[in-house]
């Protein structure tokens, strides 16, 4: 049994946000972090590793500089890094990205008792599409929005957190789970983990390595293979701060009515 965790290096939006003249993010000039939801996915994998001793492989598609992120994850306890990197893959949208990552995982070898953990969504795109699409491409079941995961044999019990409640789902391996931040609290790197992380294996798949995989085709990867076309990107105007009315229903209703009438809305 082994666990794949899909991870993405994203711009640190808590720092300065740099935008290019065309409205897209100027990634090169921003500090990077590991996508926050992906950290929960890593922690979920490491928890199972603590119990079972299984191998954990962090998989990322991105530029070679993503190695620094993979090394940090290794310093937390991840055993191996798999970096899918190549010019041909650049400009991929979620459809093409999941195609490529699915090919990478399949090329590495997905076995019946394996699990894939993904973060729910990346803070730079907020699509929440890549995890589920990887599962579709690999023809394995997926459970999204995991807020609790327990494992017994080849069965995982997952509490799916929904807006108005939760759903408990049982799923068999191999499967893909997308994780939300309520799932756990990611551990830090450790001193000995940092000491050892530079000796752990980092595998790099470039285009040549993956080009014969059935999912990889010039028409389904990279900018050309991406069905998404950006029509326009813009920063939405800032909304003013809201106002919270507190008190009994009667009082707040009265206050609300007077505010609305002051503004000549009623």
């Amino acid at each position: 049994m082994k666990i794949f965790v899909t991870v993405k290096q994203v711009p640190d939006t808590s720092g300065k946000v740099a935008v290019k003249p065309d409205g897209t993010l100027d990634r090169a000039s921003m500090a990077t972090i590991t996508n926050p939801d992906d950290m929960n996915a890593v922690e979920a994998a490491l928890k199972i590793k603590d119990e079972t001793g299984c191998r954990v492989i962090a998989v990322s598609m991105g530029p070679m500089t993503a190695e620094s992120m993979l090394r940090e994850l290794m310093a937390m306890g991840v055993d191996e890094g798999l970096l899918i990197s190549g010019r041909e893959f650049g400009g991929s949208d979620t459809y093409a990205t999941s195609q490529i990552i699915a090919a990478g995982i399949d090329h590495y070898g997905l076995e019946p008792d394996d699990i894939i953990f993904s973060g729910r969504q990346a803070i730079d795109g907020d699509t929440a599409q890549v995890g589920p699409q990887i599962a579709e491409k690999l023809h394995i079941p997926q459970v999204s929005y995991a807020g609790e995961v327990t494992k017994a044999g080849n069965k995982l019990t997952v509490k799916r957190m929904l807006e108005d409640g939760y759903m408990t789902v049982e799923v068999e391996t191999p499967c893909l789970i997308t994780c939300i931040k309520e799932l756990n609290e990611p551990r830090y790197m450790s001193v000995s983990g940092i000491d050892g992380c530079f000796d752990k294996p980092l595998i790099i798949y470039d285009y040549n390595e993956l080009k014969d995989h059935p999912l990889i085709d010039p028409t389904t990867i990279g900018l050309k293979g991406s069905p998404t076309n950006i029509y326009k990107s813009f920063t939405p105007p800032q909304k003013g701060a809201g106002r919270m009315l507190t008190g009994s229903a009667k009082e707040t209703a009265k206050e609300l009515a007077s505010v609305l009438s002051e503004k000549h809305l009623i």
């Binding site: 620094s68 090394r71 940090e72 310093a75 830090y188 790197m189 450790s190 001193v191 000995s192 992380c197």
Partner: protein
């Protein structure tokens, strides 16, 4: 110095850990109650902080002095006292065993210290022997295979929590000055060992300091660490490394002073603009920045010398002297920039001012660093 990938990653770990775990609530509680917090101690141990410098074969992670300096600096930048939590085992506590301990002693004492289960403290200072540490009056008299210890050690950081204490005692009463002193590891549970009341301190509250009194304490012979009568030179070599750590702590405190001062100077408005617009204020910030840069580089350089097994006595003392004085000057300026608010406990600089004050006192006062530097300078001139 530009850090390599490994040290940059360590720095990131220490920074993230301190910023997240050293909550304001924890910092205030430590400062107000003065009590040791086992939870944060255990958490720091879990991530390998206590055993950072202890070699792998004794349960630590065998990191270098640069890693140690980075750790103390980053922890102290958030809370000075919590940097001491991770310091003792890597420095004055574990150091003497690493320098002079036998294989059995290292195997027995170091692994539980590295894992944070046990605490070992360092006892050199006595009521009458501070800067003049060689003036030790604690005695150890051989009795069969054992030694009988009598005396009083003062200002022992961590004494109330300690399982073991490194004790320096006179074993040859005929030898003069710092000669004839031996080093022992004392089990704090032995009959005849008692603690003084915890000192009420100006700062670094939350890591209790008190006296250890020994009255006819029978210590087995295998608790002698290193050679008989040769303990003082081990103490001095331990303090080299210790001073490096305390210099790093001073840099962390100084940086924290600057961080707070910059933030406040940009927020606070007088005469219709932020006070950082006034050169009288911004030049104070500039001086702080320049001095901190200088102190930090001295610390990293001293660490590098030690990591290359080069003579670092003068460099460690120089780093401690400059960093400690820098921390004090920065604390003064940070409070000054805060005006009246800097004098009020609600603001962090009020505590920084008190914490900074210890830097130029313990592990050798600034004057003693000058003594060490001058002696080394003149010896080689």
């Amino acid at each position: 110095m530009i850090l390599d990938a490994k040290h940059a990653m360590l720095q990131k770990l220490f920074r993230e850990f301190a910023q997240t775990e050293f909550t304001k609530e924890l910092q205030d509680r430590l400062d107000q109650t003065g009590e040791f917090d086992w939870d944060i101690h255990k958490k720091m141990a879990k991530y390998g902080f206590m055993g950072l410098r202890i070699p792998k074969e004794y349960g630590g992670s065998g990191m270098d002095y640069l890693a140690y300096a980075l750790m103390i600096e980053e922890l102290a930048r958030v809370d000075a006292v919590l940097s001491i939590y991770a310091n003792t085992s890597n420095s004055l506590g574990g150091g003497p065993l690493l320098l002079a301990g036998s294989e059995e002693q290292k195997k027995k004492y170091l692994p539980p210290v590295a894992s944070g289960e046990k605490i070992v403290v360092f006892c050199l200072t006595e009521p009458g022997a501070g800067s003049d540490a060689g003036g030790t009056t604690t005695t150890a008299v051989q009795d069969g295979d054992d030694f009988i210890l009598n005396g009083r050690k003062t200002f022992v950081s961590g004494a109330p929590m300690a399982d073991w204490a490194i004790i320096f005692a006179k074993t040859d009463p005929t030898a003069r000055g710092s000669r004839g002193i031996s080093m022992f590891i004392l089990d704090m549970k032995l009959p005849g060992v008692t603690l003084g009341a915890p000192e009420k301190k100006m700062g670094i509250n939350g890591y209790p300091t008190c006296d250890i009194v020994m009255e006819n304490v029978r210590v087995p012979g295998d608790c002698l660490v290193g050679q008989l009568n040769k303990g003082f030179s081990i103490a001095m070599r331990t303090l080299d490394g210790g001073r490096l750590g305390m210099a790093a702590q001073a840099v962390g405190i100084a940086q924290s002073c600057l961080d707070e001062a910059v933030k406040y100077a940009k927020e606070r408005k007088q005469f219709g603009r932020p006070i950082s617009d006034f050169q009288g204020v911004s030049f104070m910030l500039a001086d702080m920045e320049a001095e901190i840069q200088a102190a930090r580089q001295l610390v990293y350089h001293a660490a590098e010398l030690k990591d290359h097994n080069m003579d670092a006595t003068r460099a460690c003392s120089a780093a401690k002297l400059i960093a400690a004085e820098t921390a004090n000057r920065c604390a003064y300026k940070a409070v000054q920039i805060h005006g009246g608010y800097g004098y009020i406990k609600e603001y962090k600089v009020e505590r920084l001012y008190r914490d900074a004050r210890i830097c130029s006192i313990y592990e050798g006062t600034s004057q003693i660093q000058q003594v060490v530097i001058a002696a080394d300078l003149l010896k080689n001139a």
